[in-house]
Amino acid sequence: MASRVSVGPVPVTSEQTFAQPRGVWSWITTVDHKRIGILYLLTALFFFAVGGLEAMLIRVQLARPNSEFMSADTYNQMFTMHGTTMIFLAIMPLSGAFFNFLVPLMIGARDVAFPRLNAFSYWALLFGAIMINVGWLFGEAPDAGWFAYANLTSSAYSPGNNVDFWVLGIQILGLSSLAAAFNFLITIVNMRAPGMGMMRMPIFVWMTLITAILIILAFPALTVGVTMLMLDRFYGSNFFVPEAGGSPLLWQHLFWVFGHPEVYILILPAFGIISEVLPVFSRKPLFGYSAVVFAGAGIAVLGFSVWAHHMFTVGMGPVPNSIFAISTMLIALPTGVKIFNWIGTVWGGHVSLKTPMLFALGLIALFIVGGISGVMHASPPVDSQHQDSYFVVAHFHYVLFGGSIMGLFSGIYYWFPKISGRMYNELMGQIHFWLMFLGMNLTFFPMHWLGVQGMPRRIYTYDDSQGWNDWNMFVTIGMFVLVVSFVFFAANMLMSLVVGERAPDDPWDGATLEWAISSPPPVYNFRTIPLVTSRIPLWSEKYPEVYGGDDHGAHSYEQPDVDDEHGREHMVPGAHGDSHEHEAHDAHGHDDTIHLPNPSYWPLVTAGGIAIAFGGFLVSYIMVGVGVAMTVIGIFAWALEPAITYVAPTTSDDAAHDHHA
């Protein structure tokens, strides 16, 4: 090929190149999407535990009326940090962990489109998380709620540094999310293996794509809102200051323009995960693939038109309330389509109730409850009784815990063998599920009754005479069931990592590409890029008699060069045996080197610079300057260092498989 110019270092033998680099430094400079995924996973689990601990303290405080366990001040920090942590530091990074680890594997790529940007996203996440949490050290953690309504957040009413930590942390986290979103958008659109048309992508990849689009369009609104808040607080501007004509409602609008798409950012990855799990454990392809895809896209588009349903009680007037009520209710339609197609997938399948499947089914069962209460809020008159009461708290824990967390845990169990190379303990997984399912309902279902009985949220105490004692105690007890369930989870994970059985490449009889490679996957993922001819490439290969005719999505527009008849011979082999030897060859027939991104610490330097610059607003402008300088140096060095090493011609037996040659 004309363009193939050999450059770069002298070829090295494959053993040297592909050995997993070791040591802390190799993790700090890693740009390998799998390692970054693992970093995301560990960070997210850590913060999930932190958020869970905060929830525990909240529940202890609320167990009894007039409790003196915590002061109002501490409580306000607690619920603010609980919400913020769970949303920005637990669920989003947990989804990010799966995007990172799996998207390249599922689309048959060696890495993401911009590996160093990926590392940057992770470091920015970590620094943002530290920035938000550092307030605890000073007893000044953020305390204005996870949506930080103006003008309570103005310096007049929140004179401490609490809100500052929130503002600066959110800015950094926003950058992290945006960078990751661009990366995954481009990766999915552009890095698919030959033959994988858009309509052949696994649903998880589709949901990642839609999530990325939502992040790209939703986060700027938050960035702008938070910037204004920052200017209000640090430089006395008047955006949200009513005395100067500013409007606290402007904050609410900007926040929810971001905030509602955000809740779909939180749920769609989980939907994607269970769309992979359900077919595998029902041994039946997903029912209504295109309907599920379009429903996802529909949710995304509609999701931008409903934000003011969080503001039904601010006095927008009957006409806007009606419009937002209707658009909100309409979201039930595409979401329902997804639910029904999942049921259709299970229907008539050979259901195997392994832990991942239990969590996936748990998501469906619980999300329905949360979805229904969501539609109840969508009615403004009714919402005027729900808004800011525990009914809303019940709603969002059903969708967030019953939806996102259930789905993400399904994913953790499902891909644990692939990520760690070990099997988890099935019995303990089942116990975890049943305790969590039970505990979740014990904890969050009675919150509906508390809400109907008029208990407002965000109150650090209530009085005996208010009649909420029993259910609150009940809820707190339920929460301890949840805690016990997570003890099983943590024990299971830790033990399995050490003594778990070695995982085979394909323990679940999976359908997607990641099961074709070893567990854990090699650094380069695929020795040769597979050629995809089906939505369920592995099943088509393993069960040609059943799925032989399955060539859905073959005629997707941007893959004119893939021909099915030819392709079938090159299909990815099953995971039985050593996959490398059978791996199909790149359709283009000339991909005889493996390109791996170079390790780099510049992403870390850049992210660190940004964090230092933002932190400087609380310390001194000198620090801001240092941070900016570091960022600029980081960016230039990043741009100038060579990104990719070309190494390691593939072994000759791959060439033997090259039918195109």
Binding site: P318, I343, Q453
Partner: protein, 349 residues
């Protein structure tokens, strides 16, 4: 039909264990719900105290029915699918017939929810419109409600009286309310009477309510507004018309001077003060605020001003005005009551 579309492979009935488990769970939920007597709380939204809340329940009932219908239908389908699927044979290659979808089913399960939405949408929009303007009423009283950190102030522009923390209204009268805020966002909520509306600084919001029966209705600020948010409780007292008129008269009358310690004692130990403060040897055993035992011998009130009767009167009228940020809300006493309370507190050596 559906069976064919979904590719059910032949197989026999469900796994008994799962069904039993499911029915036990369902029973448990039902039992819990029933025991959850929703009118336990004075702030229950499920107790209808007046027309506004009545109109809300006109929609709410529809929503509960719709929700129950969707819940049972969809969870039922899910459970059924699981149970069937569990029982299906599991030989190595006897994979279930792959089915890729069915357009008619997709349409069906879009249209049925759409119908549900129309059914709940219509009452929603109707009631929304009805609630957005004051219905005609022959006895309308205007009240301006101003949210403060952390109490509500009630001003009656036409009667030229005002009160804090207790909204006095005549039962059966239309209360035409304007909502404002003096500092941050609060939300005025009396669950038995009406849904909430926010007090947003810089703008005036509007709502109305009617209390059908005389009585006391508990209310609470519903928008997080800072340290004292949880304690920003208040009451609506609906009087018979004559009693209301008498209350207005009393407010307009000049304060009577000397207070009576025995009345004061009743007010303190039997009223809202006792919820937060403790006084040795009395029923007042609250723990939220500082104890008041020995109050008369303290040099200062709340640690900020000298303990004089004038300062104490100012404090009792409006604690946050004396000590911004204090968690103590205005106790909602009349001028006369304040004098009684002062007289009593000064007996506590």
């Amino acid at each position: 039909m559906v069976r064919r579309y979904l590719g059910v492979s032949p197989g026999r009935g469900g796994s008994g264990r799962l069904i039993r488990l499911a029915s036990v769970a369902a029973l448990a939920v039902l039992a819990l719900s029933l025991s959850g007597c929703l009118d336990e709380s004075p702030q229950s939204t499920a107790v209808i105290g007046g027309e506004h809340n009545q109109r809300i329940w006109d929609v709410y009932n529809w929503l509960w029915i719709g929700s129950l219908f969707v819940f049972i239908l969809v969870e039922g389908l899910l459970l059924y699918a699981i149970v069937r699927g569990r029982a299906a044979p599991r030989t190595a290659h006897g994979r279930p017939v792959p089915v890729h979808g069915n357009t008619r089913l997709e349409i069906l399960w879009t249209v049925i929810p759409a119908i549900v939405i129309v059914l709940i949408g219509i009452p929603t929009l109707t009631v929304l419109r009805d609630l957005s303007s004051t219905p005609e009423h022959d006895n309308t009283i205007k009240v301006d409600i101003v949210g403060h950190q952390f109490y509500f102030e009630f001003r009656y522009p036409e009667l030229e009286v005002s009160s804090t923390n207790t909204l006095h209204i005549p039962a059966g009268a239309m209360i035409d309310i304007n909502l404002q805020s003096a500092d941050v966002i609060h939300s005025f909520w009396v669950p038995r009477l009406a849904g909430k509306t926010d007090n947003v600084p810089g703008r005036t919001n509007y709502m109305w309510l009617i209390a059908d029966e005389p009585g006391t209705y508990a209310g609470q600020c519903a928008e997080f507004c800072g340290l004292g948010h949880a304690l920003m409780r208040f009451q609506v007292i609906a009087h018979e018309q004559e009693d209301f008129d008498a209350w207005v008269e009393e407010q307009l009358a000049p304060p009577t001077g000397e207070g009576d310690p025995t009345i004061g004692e009743q007010l303190v130990t039997g009223g809202s003060c006792a919820a937060c403060h403790a006084i040795e040897g009395t029923a007042a055993q609250g723990v939220v605020g500082p104890p008041l035992t020995g109050f008369a011998s303290r040099p200062e009130i709340a640690g900020v001003v000298e303990n004089t009767p004038e300062n104490l009167a100012a404090w009792l009228a409006n604690p946050p005005a004396v000590k911004p940020g204090t968690a103590m809300p205005p106790p909602g006493l009349t001028e006369a009551q304040i004098q009684h309370v002062i007289a009593y507190l000064h007996t506590l050596e």
